[in-house]
């Protein structure tokens, strides 16, 4: 069964249609990339899942049950526009947010200690947020998102503003959370950041869903039979072999993208290439998510 099912959600603000009949299904224990350019409607969809705003039409199910207000406790949400009370102490703030998520004060304190230690913030527990660096404040926000051990974690543009060290730290935490049974929705317009993390993706463009599926399946589906070849010598267009780009590398090597619709398998193409040049490297060029996205919205 799916963890989260979004069915036929529509939402409009005044004359602007923010979401147009969006349906998604997100399996258990996966990292799900919700992709799309700025203004596509990602944040609106996330707010609807979190019941911060209500859709005009459509329904949301968590674990097969239609969402109610009480069920938002099973979700942890890190908004894109996020902040904390500046004049509140780190531990107090976490305790407050955890209790709002329904945790008992006792459980919350235990988990706060655990997470502050894990993210190396222990000595800061009694400091005001305004005394923390931006990176440390972001770690606190991350703790607030996951402290109540939600089934579903929604991270809206989680890496915007994170320095590379912290971004890496958070990436590892996300992977660990999935290993421990959580499902993560990951919303971003920076496709390259999800390339390695996501299992499944959906793309939204101009309030409509344009693509959905597992990352590998989507990438396979968008294969064009193009190969990247590094070689020495002169490569000419011959027969069915088409060269789409060529660039000089160091050490007298040249890199080209080649394609041969007549070839049954890579070996046939490789044989044709060997006849012309000295091949140093040969690999299939599988399109990146970014390229797939761009080709889909064109």
């Amino acid at each position: 069964m799916e963890l989260l099912t979004v069915s036929n959600i529509s939402k409009s603000y005044n004359a602007h249609q923010a979401l147009d009949d969006i349906s998604l299904s997100i399996p258990h224990q996966c990292i799900f990339g919700l992709l799309g350019p700025n203004g596509a409607g990602k944040t609106t969809l996330i707010r609807i899942i979190n019941r911060i705003i209500r859709p005009d039409a459509g329904r949301v199910f968590l674990n097969g049950e239609e969402m109610t207000d009480g069920m938002v406790r099973k979700i942890g949400y890190l908004p894109e526009e996020r902040g904390l009370y500046k004049k509140m102490k780190v531990a107090e703030q976490l305790l407050y947010l955890a209790r709002l998520k329904g945790m008992s004060a006792r459980d919350a304190r235990r988990k706060i200690r655990f997470w502050l230690e894990k993210l190396e913030l222990s000595i800061w527990w009694n400091k005001n947020i305004e005394d923390l660096s931006k990176g440390m404040a972001q770690k606190v926000q991350f703790i607030a998102t996951v402290i109540h051990e939600p089934d579903l974690i929604i991270l809206d543009e989680p890496f915007s503003g994170f320095d590379p060290v912290n971004a890496d730290l958070i990436k590892n935490e996300i992977l660990e959370l999935r290993k421990n049974g959580s499902t993560v929705i990951f919303s971003t317009h920076r496709m390259e950041s999800v390339e390695e993390l996501c299992d499944d993706i959906a793309m939204i463009n101009r309030s409509r869903k344009v693509l959905e599926g597992s990352k590998s399946e989507i990438r396979n589906r968008h294969r064009t039979g193009t190969y990247q070849v590094d070689f020495k010598g002169q490569l000419q267009t011959s027969g069915k072999v088409k060269i789409s780009s060529m660039e000089a590398l160091e050490g007298g090597l040249t890199r080209a993208l080649v394609k041969d619709p007549s070839a049954q398998n890579p070996n046939q193409l490789l044989q044709k290439l060997i006849e012309q040049v000295e091949v140093h490297g040969f690999a299939e060029k599988i399109p990146s998510i970014n390229e797939i996205f761009i080709s889909n919205v064109k």
């Binding site: 911060i52 207000d69 979700i75 949400y77 890190l78 908004p79 526009e81 996020r82 407050y96 709002l100």
Partner: protein, 432 residues
């Protein structure tokens, strides 16, 4: 719903723990006590005592000019011109010149002064002369001075409230006025201070962007209610602390002043009859204080304080949700607070006629009732009026909470939009 107490707790604790709360708790009443002391000091001291020469050429006024706190009389001899010189050279404030005059046609008195004399000085001097001339003329007509003095009366009106059941109680206009005014002003002040705190709290949550994190656990309306109630608790706590500090300070001060009044030095120079009169007034004010139903005043104060604050606090929260900065909020502040300002302005009209129609209607309308009803309660208000007014106030704040909640839930997530009244109306109408 279960999260509202957690929100109330945070809003309350985070404010009460602040240093500014402690400072306001201690220095607020001290400041007010200082103001009251200053007023008491000024009024008890009265005006500077003025040295006034009396040149009586008629010989009628041998002992009529008795010094008071206001005026110190000194007899002068000689001619009018020499007395004028004396006044100028010795720095006297004024000179009462009474020439020889015919008792049948009294007149020709002059008051010279170094600056324009106050009306009270003139009327007091006139009074002294009139009384003496009256006495002399009565004596001239053959009446015994003893009989004359026995005719003299000094009236002090005793005022009593006659209730419908025929019970008589001391009426207490002076005390009721003071208590009503103070209570009304406190409510006005508290609504403003804590309403503004409510607004700033909302703007803070909006600006720091913590609001979206909170809204993923809590309904916007619950967050707003929690904030409004939490801050009401801060206001009540502050009020209780003020009352305790004030009580301590006033007890101390009145003990000090009470002792001072008994000391002979301060009364030596003053007119004994006047002193007696003012003591009598103090005594009557004190007994009439007993006529005011104090538990009712305290209960009403707490009710109108909370009710009025919630009514306006909700509106202030809505204003905060529509603003990115304090400056943005200014444009909505004035219209929201106009009824409050109108009620403060109307207090004097209500005091002149505490049971008139202005007083009645303004204490029924929930936007003005917290201030106006507090003015009226010390004078005694019919129970049905009080119940109706409280009922309307509850209805009023439920209404403003509802309106504010609808604006708040949209405003709190809207950034960087120029908001005007039309926008607010549109947010109010939005379905979700």
């Amino acid at each position: 719903m279960s999260q509202i107490p957690i929100i109330i707790q945070r809003e309350y604790v985070s404010r009460v723990k602040k240093k500014s709360f402690l400072i306001a708790s201690i220095f607020g009443p001290l400041f007010m006590a200082a103001v009251i002391l200053f007023v008491v000091f000024i009024t008890s001291k009265g005006v500077d005592q003025k040295n006034i020469l009396v040149l009586d050429q008629s010989g009628y006024f041998t002992e009529d000019f008795v010094s008071t706190e206001e005026m110190l009389f000194e007899k002068a001899e000689g001619t009018e011109a020499s007395a004028k010189d004396l006044m100028r050279n010795k720095g006297y404030y004024g000179l009462v010149y009474i020439p020889q005059f015919d008792l049948d046609h009294p007149g020709g008195y002059t008051f010279y002064s170094s600056s324009n004399p106050s009306l009270s000085i003139i009327s007091k001097i006139e009074q002294v002369i009139d009384r003496r001339v009256e006495d002399l003329r009565l004596q001239q007509s053959g009446l015994d001075p003893v009989i004359i003095s026995s005719f003299k009366v000094s009236t002090s009106l005793k005022t009593l409230n006659l209730s419908e059941t025929g019970e008589e109680t001391n009426s207490s206009s002076v005390a009721a006025t003071i208590i009503g005014y103070l209570a009304a002003f406190m409510i006005y002040l508290f609504i403003f201070i804590y309403g503004a705190q409510c607004m700033r709290g909302v703007i803070e949550e909006k600006n720091t962007r913590i609001v979206e994190i909170i809204l993923s656990s809590v309904k916007p309306f619950h967050l707003m209610i929690g904030k409004v109630i939490g801050i009401a608790g801060v206001g009540l706590t502050q009020f209780l602390i003020w009352m305790m500090v004030m009580f301590g300070v006033t007890t101390g001060v009145s003990a000090f002043f009470g002792m001072n009044q008994l000391s002979p030095a301060s009364t030596a120079m003053t007119d004994p009859t006047q002193q007696g009169l003012s003591n009598e007034m103090v005594a009557s004010a004190l007994t009439s204080l007993g006529a005011i139903h104090m538990p009712m005043v305290v209960f009403s104060f707490l009710f109108y304080f909370v009710g009025g604050y919630v009514l306006y606090g909700a509106l202030f929260a809505a204003v905060g949700s529509a603003s990115d900065t304090d400056q943005d909020a200014q444009q909505f502040m004035l219209p929201v607070t106009i009824p409050l300002i109108a009620s403060i302005i109307s207090i004097s009209a209500v005091l002149t006629d505490p049971n008139g129609s202005i007083a009645f209607w303004m204490s029924m309308i929930p936007f003005t009732s917290p201030v106006i009803m507090m003015v009226r309660v010390p004078f005694g208000v019919a129970s049905w009026e009080l119940v109706a007014s409280m009922f309307f106030l509850i209805g009023g704040f439920l209404f403003t909470l509802w309106v504010a909640g609808r604006i708040y839930r949209v405003g709190i997530l809207t950034h960087g939009t120029k908001v005007n009244w039309k926008t607010l109306a549109r947010w109010f109408m939005t379905s979700a």
